[in-house]
Symmetry: C2
Subunit: 495 residues, 2 copies
């Protein structure tokens, strides 16, 4: 049974315009998505938040399996020596990893419990699983007939973050990591693209989050990748959020891990690999793209509860009637696969409406005695805050249509917001001015040098979010150094 | 695409009668369920094994949700001080836990990578989550209106095992852990029973594993529980395997963690709690209860592939025909929700049959040119090793019926085996003799003393698996010490 937390009800959500960062935390608290834990940098994902993750998992998992990927599970711990086999990889993760050094606790002489049973080699809690997986791949792959190998793992990973924020950046987080091995570079390139396309379709089609897909610059790519592709989204504070990445690893891991195979000409070769992932971070993006000053707004396709039915009554006699009608409607909706609940609690309608609004349920149906008389119900939509009375006979079609409308509207609204806040800029002064005063995405020419990129970051905190796949060939001058450039890239300050 | 591993095909499975323990490992390898990892005591669950876990998850998850339970996610790490708050609990887990002591790696003076950034308080990788969860419960629960709180978590846990065995006992394993908090002892008692009943229904109804449900003795209960309930199953080597447990925690954790609430009389009280879990260990039970000398045998309800369709052809012309027919049949089966695949590989039928047999697919359909002429197909069942020719028109009904038959037959067979190997024993000499020479379950009187129980274990390695819920009141004498007893309990040597 759902219960009302009165303390939460009383708390007001900070306005976005007042303090965006506090608004984000308030929305999470008001919708009861997560809580801080006593473990530094780790959060607890509460049922309302976890249910969103379950829906994300179920959609993505099916998409992966449709492309031939199978799920597996690899150890949480990675021997320290494995991490160091790929130079850039250890460089990227050594500074922020949880190290297991002992395998029991025992009492010392003073009666204090202390770590004991020191391990010969420290174990690292996986920050990502390339190294442990590819060690296994080298045992499993012998011939071209064993390829492609297409695996995915749903797992927890740990990166010791210094500054954390629920969903966006936590020491432990949940994700999926896909890992594939191929006989040719072309196949690995194609798989890298296939997965970033899958993520784009998912973000836009299910989460209603418009994204720009593209390639990361050398400085921003994954530690150990040949190149990284990404989908980048814009939050309502106009900052960028990387919502998913797909890496072409080339033979960077297959060589140190000796993932070799006999090709069709019976010659030995190293496999070509990809890895790709989406994490609970994307829940942060859902919150920040769609929600408003009244709380969470969820796209219907991913909302754990799509429709909340609120019966309204005064007398016991009325209660029986409205409960019956509510159940009738619920049954009809359920038949159509709509995820719904009836809120039968003994509470006034006002607080109930308020609660479901904060929790982001896309559609609310009110059923009162007068509605029953008129053979109608009141339907309210969360995204617009509007209500209308509709005939009860049309309820199923109306709700299905409304859910679709809301889904479309959220996407359109977010796309418009992004377009309105994307600036095509050709001068360095303007660049600095926009970053400082307006924010948003900047589409600007870049010379391609890592040095120039670093200077831009140093001066403005803006980074290259991606070199869009749909980048137009256009001769221009680097916005920072004026050297020649062949096309625009997307700059922004990012989460 | 499924691929054939020729090396595996060549390897013979050890007979159960020759070496049961090696047979178990051979079955796992032949069915490609799991592999050893380079991390001490940790295994890799390969796609064929993980798919079984996914099916287990999907059935159990629905069962839990049907009883009002919601999923959430709590941190992997537990501050050392939390573990020590409940005395028996730390006693139970201190000797076998992974301890995180540092949060990065850095180069020492000799250029060697070493743990750095020492933590003020060590973190324990969760062996189970009572402590971290109940710390949070104390923040969330204030009044009787917040109760019951019914949560479950699907997660990995770590217990530093010295002797490991795939699925049965590994340092890291996957499980679900349900945790509930209630206003009264009665409610917590009822939930404890509800969950062990759920596990029993699941084990018997889906895994076709007959289980004896009962209470653990004091010595065998969970570290920190008031009492533990269990379902116990018999493997083909006649040893017992505990397949799931449900613990009534009383107020043992709510007191140290201060999980208090105001009851309906506005008086402060501590909540009553339960926790319950099933792990990947149960896959070990599935393997050991049903499989035979030819490899894995899976109950249809949990088999990732229920039906394998093997087209048989000689010429290209025949190939086109049999593929077409195979697809036709596949489409019909799929429509009925049957999980099936067509094996189109260019391999002779023999090796294909052999492979699917080892992998435990319950039903094989062979489609050859002659079958098409006769409008029939050959259906083989894995459990009995029999084949028959059936009319193609009846295929869907026949397969559905066959899957049901196999499911029933596996359960019946396992139940018969258990009954044939359960001995009602009243003398200590006979007890020792049966344990030493025959094995199996022993139903015997026990005086109820922990000392006597310990002596029995010392002398025979047999433990009390459970005091069955359906224990008959029967006056007798303890099989070991001859003191009075009111009923029989189940003894066995256990995994």
């Amino acid at each position: 049974m759902l219960r009302l937390n009165f303390k939460q009800m009383a708390k007001k959500i900070t306005k976005r315009s007042e303090n965006y960062s506090q608004w984000y935390l308030d929305v999470i608290e008001a919708a009861d998505l997560a809580d801080n834990s006593p473990v530094r940098g780790c959060m607890v994902i509460k049922p309302n938040g976890y249910a969103i993750w379950e829906n994300i998992q179920s959609v993505l998992d099916k998409k992966f399996k449709d492309t031939g990927v199978k799920n597996a599970y690899f150890p949480l711990f990675i021997p320290q020596s494995f991490l160091t086999k790929e130079a850039e990889h250890i460089e990227g993760f050594a500074k922020e990893c949880a190290v297991v050094t002992h395998h029991r606790l025992e009492m010392d002489e003073k009666g204090k419990l202390v770590p004991a049973g020191k391990l010969e080699e420290p174990l690292i809690v996986r920050p990502t699983s390339e190294t442990i997986m590819y060690h296994m791949f080298s045992k499993w792959i012998n011939s071209y007939r064993d390829l492609p190998l297409l695996l995915n793992q749903w797992a927890n990973v740990v990166r010791w973050e210094m500054r954390t924020r629920p969903f966006l950046r936590t020491t432990e987080f949940l994700w999926q990591e896909g890992h594939t091995a191929h006989a040719t570079k072309e196949e690995a390139d194609a798989r890298t693209m296939q997965m970033i396309d899958t993520y784009k379709e998912f973000a836009e089609g299910y989460l209603a989050i418009p994204v720009i897909a593209g390639k990361k610059s050398e400085s921003e790519k994954f530690a150990g990748a040949e190149y990284t592709t990404t989908i980048e989204s814009m939050m309502q504070d106009k900052k960028a959020l990387q919502a998913g990445t797909s890496h072409m690893l080339g033979q960077n891991f297959s060589k140190p891990f000796e993932v070799k195979f006999l090709n069709q000409e019976s010659k030995e070769d190293y496999v070509w690999q990809t890895s790709w992932g989406v994490s609970t971070r994307i829940i942060g993006a859902i919150i920040m793209v769609h929600s408003d000053d009244n709380g969470l707004v969820l796209p219907p396709k991913i909302a754990p509860i799509q429709v909340i039915i609120v019966p309204v009554w005064a007398s016991d006699e009325e209660m029986v009637k409205v409960f019956e009608k509510a159940q009738e409607i619920a049954d009809k909706l359920k038949e159509q696969g709509i995820r719904m609940e009836i809120d039968k609690r003994e509470l006034r309608p006002g607080p109930k409406f308020f609660e479901w609004e904060k929790k982001g349920v896309p559609v609310r149906i009110e059923v009162g005695p007068k509605d029953i008389e008129k053979n109608s119900v009141v339907i309210a939509r969360r995204d617009m805050g509007t209500k209308e009375s509709v005939s009860e006979n049309d309820i199923v079609m109306d709700v299905l249509k409304l859910l679709e409308d809301i889904q479309d509207n959220l996407f359109k609204r977010a796309l418009e917001f992004r377009e309105n806040n994307t600036h095509t800029i050709d001068s360095w002064d303007e660049f600095k001015n926009v970053i400082e005063n307006e924010g948003g995405f900047i589409s600007a020419h870049w010379c391609g040098s890592a040095e120039c990129e670093a200077k831009i970051k140093e001066e403005t905190k803006a980074t290259i979010r991606c070199i869009p796949f749909d980048q137009k060939k256009e001769n221009g001058e680097c916005v920072h150094c004026n050297k020649p450039s062949e096309g625009r890239v997307i700059f922004a300050i990012a989460y």
